[in-house]
């Protein structure tokens, strides 16, 4: 609505209209404060998260400290000030110099007055390794099976890239052999042990089968070793800024980049590649390196499973409460209970889930169906199914309340019209009332999903782990493994931020993961909102 402007509205005295203004300012102030907080939160996480992928330039510094002169290469991560004895403040910088295997600490603080010179000198390379994080060095030479290539000669960088590509293939193939083939082999051997224990097979037959599997295992290992041969002949030699010679096997190297010799476009491309790898790779080195793919996958699967459980349960409960139950004292009490359930701290749901789903339901399932495998639990241990069910309980009130509201918003006239056409009560609900209230129900589901996807505390008790060996859905029969533990972005943030052995190294990943979690919730919600708007168009209730 447009307010009539003052010139047009001569009859309104300014004295009266200004009476309400302080309140308008107050409400507007409240809103702006909210908006500012949201923007600040999102902006901070966005900037920190994105900048952690940006390939910064490597600075070579000459340092004169208490213990002599020293040369150092690394990129600057932070500038700050610290108070000194004299009361004045000393400017300091934090740099990342990598090479953790040599120096022990990747990050260090330097007093800016000790830095004698700084320059961005060409030739420095950031090398990603399988262990100890990245290394920062000047390459010297690359030994390949077909000869040695010196730094500076034609085709050196191409050769390095080729070696890294080969290593990637080798890792891919050996991962396949180790995870899939040897994994299946180990499971087969375990199954034989179980069969033997319950007396399904004779000891001799079991021994024979074990023999076969044993042979197979040896063959797989030989295969893996053969694959590794391909990368064995490579060796990479370099020189750190303070003049130490280092060399790495080809199998240790995962990537290389020369930030000082690249233009903006190349650096931007490198950033995109890093982001992509962050999305699709598995974590390495206690989660501080590599990607978060299993956590994304776990979060999405857990949230969707939760939605799958909570939607029918909540909608059916709400339909009964609103449409069928006699509206009296009893229903009032139930409604109050449901609303209060929404206020119960989430960790309490975690405790309940652990006690009820994991220990009671899970153990009972194990007793009945997986008795052979006991004492190793199958369902009697935290897993993604129990986590989803726990969160479904947690978000149930949200769905019930939203659905009830949507049902009661369907105009009385429409219901009566349906009944007057000879529909039974259920037909009227099913054909007219539910379609008309679907958008409202969807809003409830969206809220539930947003709440469920961001919840961490209860998950720690019922199935989220810092490192899950395998995904809850994969290509090993029976393909869906509801009993498996899973990784979750929210728990990942907690784990990196509080439990990581190298807090400084984990910091960028914390922000990147937080950004990802927000984006993921956003994507899930947007999808649901798009679906809802489609429904709204289809089932719009007329207004008269």
């Amino acid at each position: 609505m447009r307010q009539p402007s003052k010139e047009n509205n001569l009859f309104v005295s300014t004295g009266r209209s200004s009476k309400g203004e302080p309140w308008i300012w107050l409400t507007a102030g409240g809103l702006s404060l909210g908006i500012v907080m949201v923007i600040a939160l999102l902006g901070l996480i966005l900037i920190k998260g994105v900048s952690s992928f940006w390939p910064r330039q490597i600075v070579v510094m000459q340092i004169d400290g208490e213990n002599g002169s020293n040369k150092m290469a690394g990129y600057i991560t932070e500038r700050s000030e610290r108070p000194s004895e004299g009361g004045n403040r000393i400017a300091q910088i934090q740099i990342f110099r990598g090479n953790k295997d040599i120096y022990g600490e990747s990050f260090l603080y330097l007093d800016e007055r000790n830095i004698k010179s700084q320059e961005i000198s060409p030739g420095y390379m950031l090398v990603e390794r399988t262990e100890y994080g990245p290394a920062i060095l000047k390459p010297v030479k690359l030994v390949t099976p077909s000869g040695t290539i010196e730094e500076g000669t034609q085709g050196f960088d191409d050769a390095v890239q080729r070696m890294i590509a080969i290593n990637e293939e080798v890792r891919e193939q050996t991962r396949h052999i180790e995870r899939k083939l040897i994994g299946a082999n180990a499971r087969a051997i375990r199954d034989i042990e179980i069969d033997l224990k319950v007396g399904k097979v004779e000891a001799e037959a079991a021994a024979a089968m074990r023999e076969v599997l044993q042979e197979e295992f040896v063959k797989f290992q030989a295969d893996a070793a053969k694959v590794r041969e391909r990368i064995a002949g490579y060796e990479f030699h370099g020189l750190t800024a303070d003049g130490r010679e280092v060399s790495y096997m080809g199998s240790q190297l995962l990537g290389s980049f020369r930030p000082n010799d690249s233009n903006w476009f190349q650096r931007f491309w490198e950033m995109l590649q890093r982001m992509w790898r962050f999305l699709i790779e598995e974590p390495r080195e206690a989660n501080t390196e590599g990607g978060v793919y299993p956590a994304i996958f776990g979060t999405v699967v857990m949230t969707l499973t939760m939605t799958f459980f909570v939607t029918p349960l909540g909608v059916i409960a709400a339909i009964y409460l609103r449409e069928y139950a006699k509206q009296g004292q009893m229903v009032r009490v139930v409604r109050i209970c449901v609303n209060n359930l929404a206020g119960v701290p989430s960790i309490v749901f975690g405790v309940f889930g652990l006690a009820f789903f994991v220990y009671f339901v899970g153990n009972s399932i194990d007793q009945v169906f997986y008795g052979d495998k006991l004492p190793t639990p199958t369902f009697g241990t935290p897993g993604i199914l129990w986590a989803s069910l726990t969160l479904a309980l947690l978000t149930l009130p949200v769905v019930i309340v939203a659905t009830e509201e949507a049902l009661s918003a369907v105009p009385r006239g429409v219901r009566e019209a349906a009944l007057a056409c000879g529909a039974s009560k259920w037909q009227a609900i099913q054909r007219i009332v539910i379609p008309a209230s679907l958008p409202g129900i969807m809003t409830g589901i969206i809220l539930a999903m947003a709440r469920g996807a961001g919840e961490v505390a209860p998950l720690m008790l019922v199935g989220a782990v810092k490192l899950a060996p395998s995904l809850p859905i994969d290509d090993i029969a029976p393909y869906i493994h509801p009993e498996r533990k899973f990784m979750h972005l929210g728990f990942h943030i907690y784990d990196l931020g509080f439990q990581s052995p190298d807090a400084e190294a984990a910091k960028p990943i914390v922000f990147a993961t937080a950004l990802l979690l927000i984006l993921l919730v956003l994507v899930l919600n947007l999808t649901a909102i798009i679906i809802r708007n489609r429904l709204k168009k289809k089932f719009a209730v007329s207004h008269f």
Partner: protein, 260 residues
């Protein structure tokens, strides 16, 4: 149905017998006694709050949905009591169609709105549905306006068209009785006229009971008129006679607009 039967129309097709009705403790109908003849239009008039809607809504037991209602006396439909334990409300409502004061189409296509009563009755044969849609919409004088967009949303229609759609929906399953609660209250004069014409044509097939606040409307399209006042049936008779020569003082005061 009634139009095709060779026998004479029943003069007491709907028979309200000593009917009393309460919302909780609040009695709103007192000893109503009237006979509504078959294949005629009967108008219910009276000041606001006198119980016209209540009486109408009891004829298809729509008021059963409200908590705490009770009644005394009986309403007979073609001889059988509505409250007979053997009578199923759902099949009763199939025989008694209803059009409401506020047009209330479903959030579905025009086509699906019309066939709703067939669908809930489990009759879903394509040819039957198509035929029903055409017949009902023609009867409701809407066919020519919507025949090219049967599968568009019903909300795309104008108010008057939506009300005629509701009429089409009410007559789709060929009920015997059509109850109309102020069907023109939300419409402009032109649409009102169309619906009045419609009522006059429809009475060949259906027994129609219509609630109206509009005296002219009652004279134009009804055969008999009942005047209700404070829950009591004050006067009931031929429309022309009731308006031309009312017997009761209250009736006269009301129809001449001298009502406090």
């Amino acid at each position: 149905m009634s139009a095709t039967t060779a026998t004479m129309p029943r003069p007491d097709f709907i028979h309200v017998e000593d009917y009393n009705f309460w919302y909780g403790q609040n009695q709103v109908l007192f000893d109503i006694d009237m006979e509504i003849p078959e294949c005629q239009v009967t108008a219910l008039i009276g000041p606001s709050g006198c119980g016209k809607s209540t009486l109408l809504r009891n004829m298809n037991r729509m008021n059963d949905l409200i908590d705490g209602v009770s009644h005394k006396g009986d309403i007979r439909l073609n001889g059988t009591s509505l409250y007979d334990p053997d009578v199923e409300v759902i099949s009763l409502r199939k025989r008694v169609g209803m059009v409401f004061q506020k047009y209330n189409p479903f959030a579905k296509s025009i086509y699906e709105n019309v066939v709703f009563s067939l669908r809930v009755a489990g009759r879903g044969k394509r040819c039957e549905l198509d035929e029903t849609v055409e017949r009902s919409l023609k009867d409701a004088a809407l066919w020519d306006e919507v025949k090219d967009r049967l599968h568009d949303s019903a909300f795309g229609l104008s108010g008057g068209q939506q009300q005629r759609l509701c009429i089409a929906r009410a007559i789709a399953n060929q009920p015997e009785i059509l109850l109309m609660d102020e069907p023109c209250a939300a419409l402009d004069p032109l649409a009102t006229l169309k619906i009045e014409e419609l009522i006059t044509t429809l009475k060949k097939q259906f027994t129609i009971v219509i609630v109206t606040h509009n005296m002219e409307q009652a004279t134009r399209c009804s055969d008999r008129t009942a005047f209700l006042y404070m829950g009591k049936l004050v006067e009931y008779g031929d429309t022309l006679q009731l308006f031309g020569n009312p017997k009761q003082k209250d009736t006269e005061a009301y129809i001449s607009g001298r009502f406090s």
